[in-house]
Symmetry: C2
Subunit: 498 residues, 2 copies
């Protein structure tokens, strides 16, 4: 074996060293044991490594989002409190052996956001109450109709109600709001009717269940709202703001990269540019959060009837914008490159539009963050539209600057001569079209950013944002008064719309 | 009042007739009663109408997707069967009063797809078993440590385990697979430890819970797999096929509409074109279904280890394609219209590319539907790339055909003369760029469709699709052999790639 190792060369010998040094001159059975030991060690190491990696990931997640750790602690605390019910004799006598329903309620109902917890609590309480009273009615009828019919009536009612309620969970209006309530309805109805057949103290059962559920839900609501509450509404607001920032960064990075392509690729901006991809995938989260936010009372800067639905509209217009940025991104990374003279001619004005678009988005971020109407936003949109106009103008001026010299050989419009002209010198659409579509997509993006601005404006109207009276706007007002000729310029800026 | 009605004219009089005829010559108190009655009637009518509409929607949903009705019936059936446990004395004696755990298991675990049900069943069984044994261990230690320390040890263990497990539910790897198991773990652990303090027959409780959960889960698995099983895997497969069809229709409709814009808008094609919007929003559903499909045994044409993850890749490449179609759609509906000569020049070749792209997608649909490799797909992709090449060629030839006549006045390339030329006659980029970006996006879409084809090809490799030996391919083979000159043409077709 040693010979074989020597023959097989330096590389293999090195690999075999850890085995080789310990296994020299030992019998085969010992080798087998050693191999098994190594295999076991490898397995254990792999397992330890896997667990270590899991814990490492968990630690990172906890550090990145301490809210999630807080939620865990809150659930632990609620369970601890609810188990005291069991230890304290007077309460235990009151609710009987059914204290476990309180434990179960806490485990099942406690969600990470206040809205979700409230939604589940209200669903659970309503579902339990409705199903409990309905089950008592069915039980009463079944009792009256004699011993032979009793199980039949109960069986049929359980079958029909369970089928119908389960089907109703697929209906969108039920699914978004009362899904959990429907499950609890079926559960309570089956339990009460079926148990009622055996347990003769039916009213007591129903009463105990209701009271324990009440204890569990009120404890959940108390703890979720008092200790570091995590609001679905605030979460939705932050998500939308964060997505707006990402879109703004993408466009900022876009222009940045457009500039840098000549110098070479850089890692930094391309990472910032990828932000729009998060926006593409956030629709489901937004819908869930908006759905839960509706259940929440007023908190922080948001009233009870804050127009959460409008956030979905803002989200939708942001997705629209992100689709376009995606196409733009693929356009920039395309293999087909436009000629340099076109790039030179258009890159400045493209960058201007890109930067202006990004600035509009950044102003929208400020509006959303401060919940105040901005006096600057119309000006910025005007500037963006002015940049669009400028871009269109420079598109118009392109042929003059580069068709001229190349077509100089073309003197007569004869059919025969046209064939002779060398194709390469004429600026064909083939050369132009990646740049043209880049420009078109930039203009599209500007139009869609106006859509976002409109949606934010609607939100400002619905939620009655106040006008920000910061120093900048005051300064602007005074300058506006002093120099009236500026106004003409501004109105000109706002007029061209795509 | 009557006078007033007469004065107010014919229209108003008509409106007031139903009130007017009954209210003539009655006292004010009667009017109040009448008003209240009308209000109540309105309220009741509104309520009835609302319920009616709800039932109507439910009926439509049931007719459109009978699977959902079947699922409802299956849940009803399972609950009926599990409640028989309660009625049958021997079984009842066996599992004791804890038969309600079986009922609860059925209600909570029964999901609409086999995969989801299996996932929940396995999670529930594992979670119950692990938490039960751990709780017994903790209970034993707590018992040994004396009466004063018992509640403290139990309290701390409940708090720590509940907090840690709740936090672990946020870790992605746990969240996607073991979320429900974690909930059940906390629930069982708290129930067993807390109840153990009171109920002295702890082992019995644990045994009963395990056996009832076993009864419930096995019943669920049996019914969900025997009666009209609804497989998450098949659902995912159908969803992907349906989305592919929608993309194909969108591109088909695209070219169709492109043709019809001159004749006038039609409702039909625009509706078909909107199909891609479903593709944009199907990501979350795909992920959920792929996650559940992994738990399912082999069914129908799918093995146990069918590469469901690859479906997510196909889905991702379809979303990519849909983003581009979205941009294309906005490009077609744009206000800025390209000049007619450009449209005429390019519309035919654009339509060709659009149709070819659609045909590639349709062939992919056939591959996915029949689960066989297609001999035609490479040919079709080649044709699509040939159309791309053709489109690029006709872009190259554009300037020749339209620059000629308009630039005929331009005889010398002097700076002064260039200014005189009327701008409108020169084909500026401004005129060209919507068409150019349409072309660019079409070419992008073709490239992305190749991405979809690659993903489907990978799936075919992973799932070992067999080669389809249908009559068409046989015919093609025979013609290929007889006419060898065709091959040159085909290889030429497949060569140009974007």
């Amino acid at each position: 074996m040693e010979n074989a190792e020597r023959v097989s060369g330096k590389l293999e010998w090195r690999v075999n060293v850890p085995d080789g040094t310990s296994n020299v001159l030992v019998s085969e059975s010992d080798q087998l044991v050693n191999k098994a030991w190594l295999w076991l060690k490898g397995l254990l190491c792999g397992l330890v490594l896997k667990i270590w990696r899991f814990l490492y990931n968990a630690w990172n997640l906890g550090v990145a989002e301490p809210k999630k750790v807080i939620h865990g602690v809150k659930v632990g605390l609620s369970l601890l409190l609810v188990s005291f019910l069991y230890y304290m004799r007077p309460l235990y006598e009151g609710v009987g052996g059914n204290a476990m329903w309180a434990v179960m309620t806490v485990v099942v109902v406690f969600e990470s956001t206040v809205g979700a917890t409230l939604c589940k609590c209200i669903n659970r309480a309503t579902g339990t109450f409705l199903a409990g009273s309905l089950a008592l009615g069915v039980q009463w009828i079944a009792n009256k109709s004699g011993e032979t019919f009793e199980p039949i009536i109960i069986g049929i009612s359980v079958f029909l109600l369970a089928s119908a309620t389960t089907f109703s969970r697929f209906i969108p209006s039920v699914k978004t709001r009362f899904d959990y309530g429907a499950v609890i309805f079926i559960l309570t109805f089956s339990l009460v009717t079926v148990s009622g057949y055996r347990v003769d103290r039916l009213f007591e059962l129903a009463y105990q269940r209701l009271s324990t559920v009440a204890i569990g839900t009120s404890l959940c609501i108390l703890i979720t709202m008092v200790f570091c509450p995590i609001w679905a509404g605030s979460g939705l607001h932050d998500l939308i703001v964060c997505n707006l920032e990402k879109l703004a960064d993408s466009l900022d990075g876009e222009c940045f990269k457009d500039d840098k392509t000549k110098l070479g690729n850089e890692e930094g901006p391309s990472k910032r540019m990828q932000g729009y991809k998060c926006v593409l995938n956030s629709k489901a989260t937004e819908e869930v959060m908006a759905n839960f936010a509706r259940w929440e009372p007023g908190h922080g800067r948001f009233n009870f009837r804050h127009p959460w639905k409008q956030y979905l509209k803002i989200g939708a217009s942001m997705h629209n914008c992100a689709y376009c940025i995606e196409a733009l991104n693929s356009c920039i990374n395309s293999e087909i490159q436009s000629p340099d003279y076109l790039k030179k001619h258009l890159s400045d004005v493209c960058m201007l539009l890109s930067t202006n678009s990004s600035e509009v988005l950044k102003e929208l971020v400020i509006i959303m963050k401060t919940l105040t109407k901005s006096s600057k936003i119309e000006l910025l949109i005007g500037e963006m539209n002015f940049a669009v106009q400028k871009l269109q103008d420079s598109l118009n001026s392109v042929p003059n600057s580069f068709i001229g010299p190349t077509v100089s050989t073309l003197q007569a419009p004869n059919e025969a001569k046209r064939e002779i002209i060398p194709k390469t010198t004429i600026p064909s659409l083939m050369d132009v079209f990646p740049m043209a579509s880049l420009v078109y997509l930039l203009i599209q993006i500007a139009a869609r950013i106006e859509g976002i601005a409109d949606a934010v404006d609607q939100l400002a109207g619905l939620a009655e944002f106040k006008l920000a009276m910061d120093e900048n706007s005051k300064q602007k007002k005074s300058t506006n008064k002093s120099t009236s000729d500026n106004q003409d310029h501004e109105t000109m800026k706002t007029s061209p719309k795509v």
